[in-house]
Amino acid sequence: MTTQFFNRALIVFLSVALSATFTLTGCGGGDDAGGGGDATPTKTDDGGSKASGGGDRTPFPAAKATASVSGKVMFKGDKPTVKKIRIQGDDFCMAQHPTAPNDETYLIGDDNTIANVFVYVKSGADKWEFKVPSTPVMLEQKGCTYMPHVFGIMAGQTVTVKSSDETKHNVHFKGKKNKAFNFSQVFNQSDDQKFSREEIMAPVECDVHSWMRSYANIVYHTLHDVTAAGGAFELPKLPPGDYEIAAVHEALGTQTQKITVADGDSKTIEFTFSK
């Protein structure tokens, strides 16, 4: 009888242990459930750029990249009125802005150039494998605003989020394809984060100061730029070939242009947005 009991006990224990193991693996496996691994960019479900297939990509021929593409982003039509931002509820932030600052959505110069437009190679570069840049992209919280307001980054590249404000900030990335993150920061604290999938204009917000907002633009390559004041951009050098260049503004939408460049070309293109 005892042996019988023992056997039964053993079976029961094993089943419990097994079920526990399953649940545990479920738990432990959580790391890659939310959005791919950290450093390896994958090219599975990014809609726009899977033309050349994922498996047989060759390293980016940096030596052949001699063509330069630059240009301007312009605005046509009635300029939207620039509104102000109400800074409230935080003594530090209010002290930083004695007068209400302008909303950063429309930074349109007197010469109708638009700043904070993200310009990148939308297609034509899928056949290459890019090296992840070792320098991190800086995202700073200063004077209760995010700097820069728009930034481009390669999947897998590090973004260093830093707070230079003597108040509490909360960094909340609300992408739809990349895994969201959310943490708080105090003065002089910095944290590193990475993105894994292509995503354009994904907001980074501060849950404590709702006017704070920055846009992350994650692509699988390094061929991107953001227009500064004056609306000018310059992409890194491209190898000869056909490309589709896209310019994206957070509120005005996307414009694309197809270009062909040859060795040593120096192309200038212009994007025009209107409301």
């Binding site: 009991f5 029961v12 419990v16 242990a17 959580g30 909340h172 609300k174 969201a180 959310n182 944290d191």
Partner: protein, 603 residues
């Protein structure tokens, strides 16, 4: 009739087993002996009491001195905030992530892994068969299984600390939508624990629920079917009565929690929307389901304590329990009313205010049976002959603290007053008076009282008294000021009320921040005092004074057998019961006690 048959079979089985040498694993690890299972629960619970206590000290530190976390470098970088001060030294602060996680885990560990397992698991298992004169539980293997559901639950709960984002951080009540939004299905991270921590929390409690249900089914069956000859229901010690009623509460309540947890797991992992308004769900549904279990759970956590204290008071006061039947009926009333008062946790939730009124009336009425019990305990102590040993001191502390806990409950029961004190430190003070002042003092009392029966040795009385008195003092110093904080409006679960160095936080709480510091100092002392208990426990385990079968001069059946009781509990014959368990100071005999199993010759 069936009782007699059951016992005969049991006796046979016990005889049969005695012929085998059982081996270490079978005897102590995968044991089906209710006494061993009880002791397993006891040590698991006490071990986790250490974890829960350390978490509490972390919480207290943050509340008192939020501007400086000593030894911050020991913690993972993502959990603490590091800054440089003017002198160039790195100063660590805890930050909301860490604090919320600790606070959530303190509550979850203490309630689900310490108090409930200690009361129902440890003492329920150990006492029921001994007190009713049975050889073991009705279903010994189910009983073993109920213990062995705890380690997987525990492991999953502990794994939560190491998953990405950290452990669950939505409070021990885990209200959706904070707990239901998981990073797998949304583009926001409401708390860092929304990653896998919260899911681990749900799965762990889901498994633990099975442990409770299996244990309770066993208790109910055992008590109904396996009482010794002559042991009528109304001759059972109040501990057994309390455990019986508790088991009924668990059987009715836990499945509701399990279903709610399962719904939450579905919301988190399968894209369900039971609690998410996005898909037509309703966050209040969780509150109803959760409190439908968790309010009875409050009584699950106090009823066994009431039972133990009744036994211990009567034994060491050498006087029969005052009003045995009212004691039993009031426990029944608590259990019954316990199922219709859950709404008092939701007065401010946006639930229909008319419903709030009915819940207020039922909640006020549940104070009544508790009051009756208190008066009966006082009646038991009156005209008694009290031995003030550690068990008795803890039992008296229980009565005193339960009075405060019960009375402070009336404030929360009143709907208008609750508008102000809801979710403030007032409720935190109240629950700690009931759970620590109530349940933990009862557990200490029970350990001091039944230790000789468990291990055949007595605990050191001097150390026990020091431990009890100091615990009593520091307990009150830690938790009484919470009521004052609550009156000042200090919200619960905030990482700090007022940071006097950085001058941040709520200014209306600046006045009471000094109290927070005082409470933290007291809390650390309270923690330190428990070392005396740990020392006493382990020292007595191996070197305590050996005692006989009945060192306290007790009446109930567990003291009829040897200490520790053998496999099968009693000798070849089960004891026969002739009277109730509280015949102390009986005029029929010369001694001041008259055991249940002693047959008196007719005078």
């Amino acid at each position: 009739m069936s009782t007699a048959v059951g016992t005969a079979e049991q006796a046979g089985a016990a005889h049969h087993d005695e012929h085998h040498d059982m081996g270490f694993i079978k005897k102590y690890v995968f044991s089906t002996d209710h006494k061993i299972i009880g002791i397993q629960f006891l040590f698991t619970g006490l071990l986790l009491f250490v974890l829960g206590g350390l978490l509490a000290l972390g919480i207290r530190w943050q509340l008192a001195w939020p501007y400086d976390l000593p030894m911050g470098e020991m913690f993972p970088e993502s959990m603490v905030n590091a800054t440089e001060n003017a002198a160039g030294e790195t100063v660590y602060t805890m930050g909301g992530e860490f604090y919320t996680m600790m606070m959530t885990m303190h509550g979850s560990v203490m309630i689900f892994f310490v108090v409930i397992p200690l009361l129902t698991g440890a003492f329920g298992n150990f006492l029921i068969p001994l007190q009713i004169g049975a050889r073991d539980m009705a279903f010994p293997i189910l009983n073993m299984l109920s213990y062995w559901m705890v380690p997987p639950a525990l492991v999953i709960m502990l794994i939560g600390f190491f998953v990405e984002g950290g452990h669950a951080a939505a409070g021990w009540t885990s209200y959706p939508t904070l707990s239901a939004i998981s990073t797998a299905y949304s583009n926001v991270v409401p708390t860092p624990g929304s990653n896998w921590g919260q899911t681990c929390w749900c799965i762990s409690l889901f498994i633990l629920g099975f442990s409770s249900i299996m244990g309770s089914v066993n208790y109910i069956t055992t008590i109904i079917k396996m009482r010794a000859p002559g042991m009528t229901m109304m001759r059972m010690p109040l501990s057994t009565w309390a455990l019986f009623i508790t088991a009924i509460l668990v059987v009715f309540g836990t499945p509701v929690l399990a279903s709610a947890l399962f719904m939450l797991i579905m919301d988190r992992t399968l894209g369900g929307t039971f609690f998410l308004p996005r898909g037509g769900g309703q966050p209040l549904l969780w509150q109803h389901l959760f409190w439908f279990y968790s309010h009875p759970a409050v009584y699950i956590m106090i009823l066994p304590g009431m039972g133990f204290v009744s036994d211990i008071l009567s034994t060491h006061a050498r006087k029969p329990v005052f009003g045995y039947k009212p004691m039993v009926y009031s426990m029944g009333a608590i259990a019954g009313l316990g199922f219709i008062v859950w709404g008092h946790h939701m007065f401010q939730s946006g639930m229909n205010p008319a419903l709030g009124m009915t819940f207020m009336i039922s909640t006020m009425m549940i104070a009544l049976p508790s009051a009756i019990k208190t008066f009966n305990w006082l009646g038991t102590m009156w005209q008694s002959n009290m031995r003030l040993n550690p068990a008795m001191l803890n039992a008296i502390s229980f009565v005193a603290m339960f009075v405060i806990g019960g009375l402070s409950g009336i404030f929360m029961a009143s709907t208008p007053v609750d508008i102000y004190i809801h979710d403030t430190y007032f409720i935190v003070g109240h629950i700690h008076y009931v759970l620590f002042g109530g349940s933990m003092f009862a557990i200490f009392a029970a350990i001091y009282h039944w230790f000789p029966k468990m291990f055949g040795r007595n605990m050191n009385s001097g150390l026990g008294k020091i431990h009890t008195v100091l615990t009593f003092v520091f307990f009150n110093a830690t938790f009484f000021p919470m009521h004052i904080l609550g009156m000042a409006g200090h919200p619960r679960r905030i990482a700090f009320g007022w940071d006097k160095v950085n001058e941040t936080g709520y200014e209306f709480l600046a006045d009471v921040q000094g109290l927070n510091e005082f409470m933290t100092m007291a809390a650390f002392m309270l923690g330190a005092v428990q070392l005396i208990f740990a020392l006493n426990l382990f020292w007595s385990l191996f070197a305590g004074k050996k005692v006989g079968n009945n060192p306290w001069g007790c009446n109930s059946l567990e003291w009829e057998t040897t200490s520790p009781a053998p496999h099968g509990n009693f000798g070849p014959e089960l004891p026969t019961v002739y009277r109730g368990p509280y015949e102390y100071a009986s005029p029929l005999v010369d001694e001041d006690y008259l055991p249940q199993a002693r047959k008196l010759e007719k005078a």
